[in-house]
Subunit: 355 residues, 2 copies
């Protein structure tokens, strides 16, 4: 059985880390006898926009829909295209049209990666953020009134559906159930956001009835963010709305020092459409073109993709490989963000060899 | 000239820390010859709700509107009253009806207070979060459709106005201008929340034209939260919408280890209505009744109140006093959260004596 992978490097360092992500992917595929068919696309990038005046070709859905997975780099080049255009015209389209309703991001202390938190060791922090990825606060519903005048009013609606919320809660409960600690934390703000969030709390409770083994707690987003810093060891699986999940899944990796190397999976658990795997980091215009971007976010995303495609051992081999390279600490190989003087390619090659 | 202060202890540890806040307030008033008239209120608490079925008497506005300031403890007792009822029925009413459109919170490393961040010293972190406090994501506009069915849809609107946004931006620019670094950071999410937030960015830019000396940057809320952990020294004044400000002003004090002792000012800069001063911490049901709550949040709020009432030296004397007591580190005096075995009252008395 061949897996068809759509490869989309995107912008900035996306184009630099993608070759290393592919190197790791192909090394793991070779070792585990996995058959991959890669198809490369230049759209969903600001370069494409410069040429065509839009981020995607009209038939992008047709072109991508039969892929088994999408392997994405990073998108955005604010100097030429405003972020809300480049993002809504690409990544956010994929998430919505391919109904990738789960955004899954690990937060994990890694050997050899310095955490900004005091007194934390690998093993202390190891949790997942499960983010609703298609609705909620990221709506395009709303508008302006009295535009351009002193009376101007701007409205944007948060839209949650029972279908949308229940399915991501179900995913989160299942994930919690599958882990040794079986613990789920829900991000709420029902004391302030008094229409949607009390209802979110009710749905969390209702779904919990089906998972009696999972212990559940909830925190308002303000104190939850604080607890990521103060007590990151408390968490096992954290489930959150689109916006809260966005914040927590950057904050979590920031606490572990891994924001530059964390991966992210945009999953359509029903399998009707391709899921999408990308690093958490963006296109990083400040270091783009220098060849020093850390490729581990892309490499780790490849691991999540292989796991999703039914090859957990191959995924694990990739994770073991970059953890070993990090632990080794060879400065000639590590990129500057993790204390070395190496290049994107040097680090990518070291990981691939290890696999 | 006499300042009329409305004193509202609220719930839980609010009732325990308030006497110590008043002790510090009165000590500073005595030393600096400030004339205070305190009036005590038992409403805006869940005890009041238990008796009256509402958080506030019908004429609360009349009773409070002529005070020069409101000195509040903490509100909330989820065991008996759901948070969205107790909060929307009290604190959030005050903020709105008294048009306290600025929520100001300092984030500062203190001597003797352990920060969860590695390698940070007092002096390294010292910034303010300026939060819009009356509109935005905290709306009561929205509702449910197909309620209780599989098709259920729940909608809540974020409502921003030019008046509301511009005035808080003005306050933030003025504050930044008054500080040595003259630096303002705006919290946005214009890449995802694509109606209100790009407009917020425009207003930040427009207001900036009047403050050429202030240097401005902006971050999306996800990476901004991450940067509070990774680079807290970058910030001087951070301005944010109601929800983003809520998150950042808990996260900031979490990074400095001061979430249990940070103060908060809900300000009506126009002076038409009383401003309100309260600790950031809540009513803390878990430690309420034990007499071990740290009173510094309430004490520090008293300092902000005196500053607001035109007595900055008296406010500073309070801050100097609790910083000295913290630096001294007498375990018999400090409460357990800062490494001692003292009581709320012992710590409160030590601070008041120092003043
Ligand atoms: C209690 C809650 C409604 C409130 C808020 O979100 O504004 C609190 O978190 C705060 O920051 O003062
Ligand atoms: C780029 C942006 C629109 C996106 C988001 O907010 O979803 C990003 O921050 C992410 O988390 O993948």
């Amino acid at each position: 059985m061949t897996h068809r992978i759509a490869v989309i490097p995107g912008d900035g360092i996306g184009k630099e880390v993608m070759p290393e992500g592919l190197r790791a992917l192909e090394a793991a595929a070779a070792r585990f006898g996995i058959d991959l068919e890669l198809e490369h696309f230049d759209f969903a990038s600001c370069d494409y926009y410069a040429e065509h005046g839009q981020m995607l070709p009209d038939d992008w859905f047709e072109q991508l829909k039969d892929a088994d997975a999408i392997f994405y780099g990073a998108v955005g080049w604010p100097e030429t295209v405003p972020d809300h255009i480049s993002l809504w015209g690409s990544l956010l389209q994929f998430r919505r049209r391919f109904d990738q309703y789960v955004n899954l991001r690990p937060c994990k202390l890694l050997p050899g990666v310095k955490s900004p938190l005091a007194d934390r060791e690998p093993g202390d922090i190891d949790f997942y953020v499960v983010r609703e990825n298609t609705e909620g606060e990221y709506s395009s519903v709303g508008g302006k009134m009295f535009e351009g005048t002193e009376r101007e009013v701007v409205i944007q609606e948060t839209v949650m559906t029972r279908t949308g919320v229940d399915r991501v809660l179900k995913y989160a409960y299942e994930l919690a159930q599958s882990r040794p600690r079986k613990k789920l934390t829900s991000a709420t703000k029902s004391n302030g956001i008094a229409i949607t969030m009390p209802w979110w709390d009710e749905r969390v409770k209702a779904m919990g009835a089906h998972y009696p083994e999972v212990s559940v707690d909830q925190f308002h987003i303000d104190i939850l963010a604080a607890n990521f810093v103060m007590h990151p060891d408390w968490f096992d699986v954290v489930v959150a709305s689109n916006l809260f999940g966005d914040i927590l899944s950057d904050l979590g990796p920031a606490c572990t020092g891994t924001i530059g190397v964390a991966p992210s999976a945009n999953i359509n658990p029903d399998g009707h459409f391709p899921s999408l795997f990308e690093p958490v980091h963006g296109s990083a215009p400040d270091i783009a073109g220098k060849g020093i971007a850390n490729p581990i976010g892309q490499v780790w995303s490849a691991a999540m993709m292989l796991e999703h495609l039914g090859h957990p051992a191959a995924g694990q081999a990739i994770v073991d490989a970059f953890e070993a390279v990090l632990a080794e600490g060879d400065k000639a190989v590590l990129t500057p963000d993790v204390g070395g003087q190496g290049t994107t390619e040097a680090l990518g090659r070291a990981i691939a060899e290890r696999i």
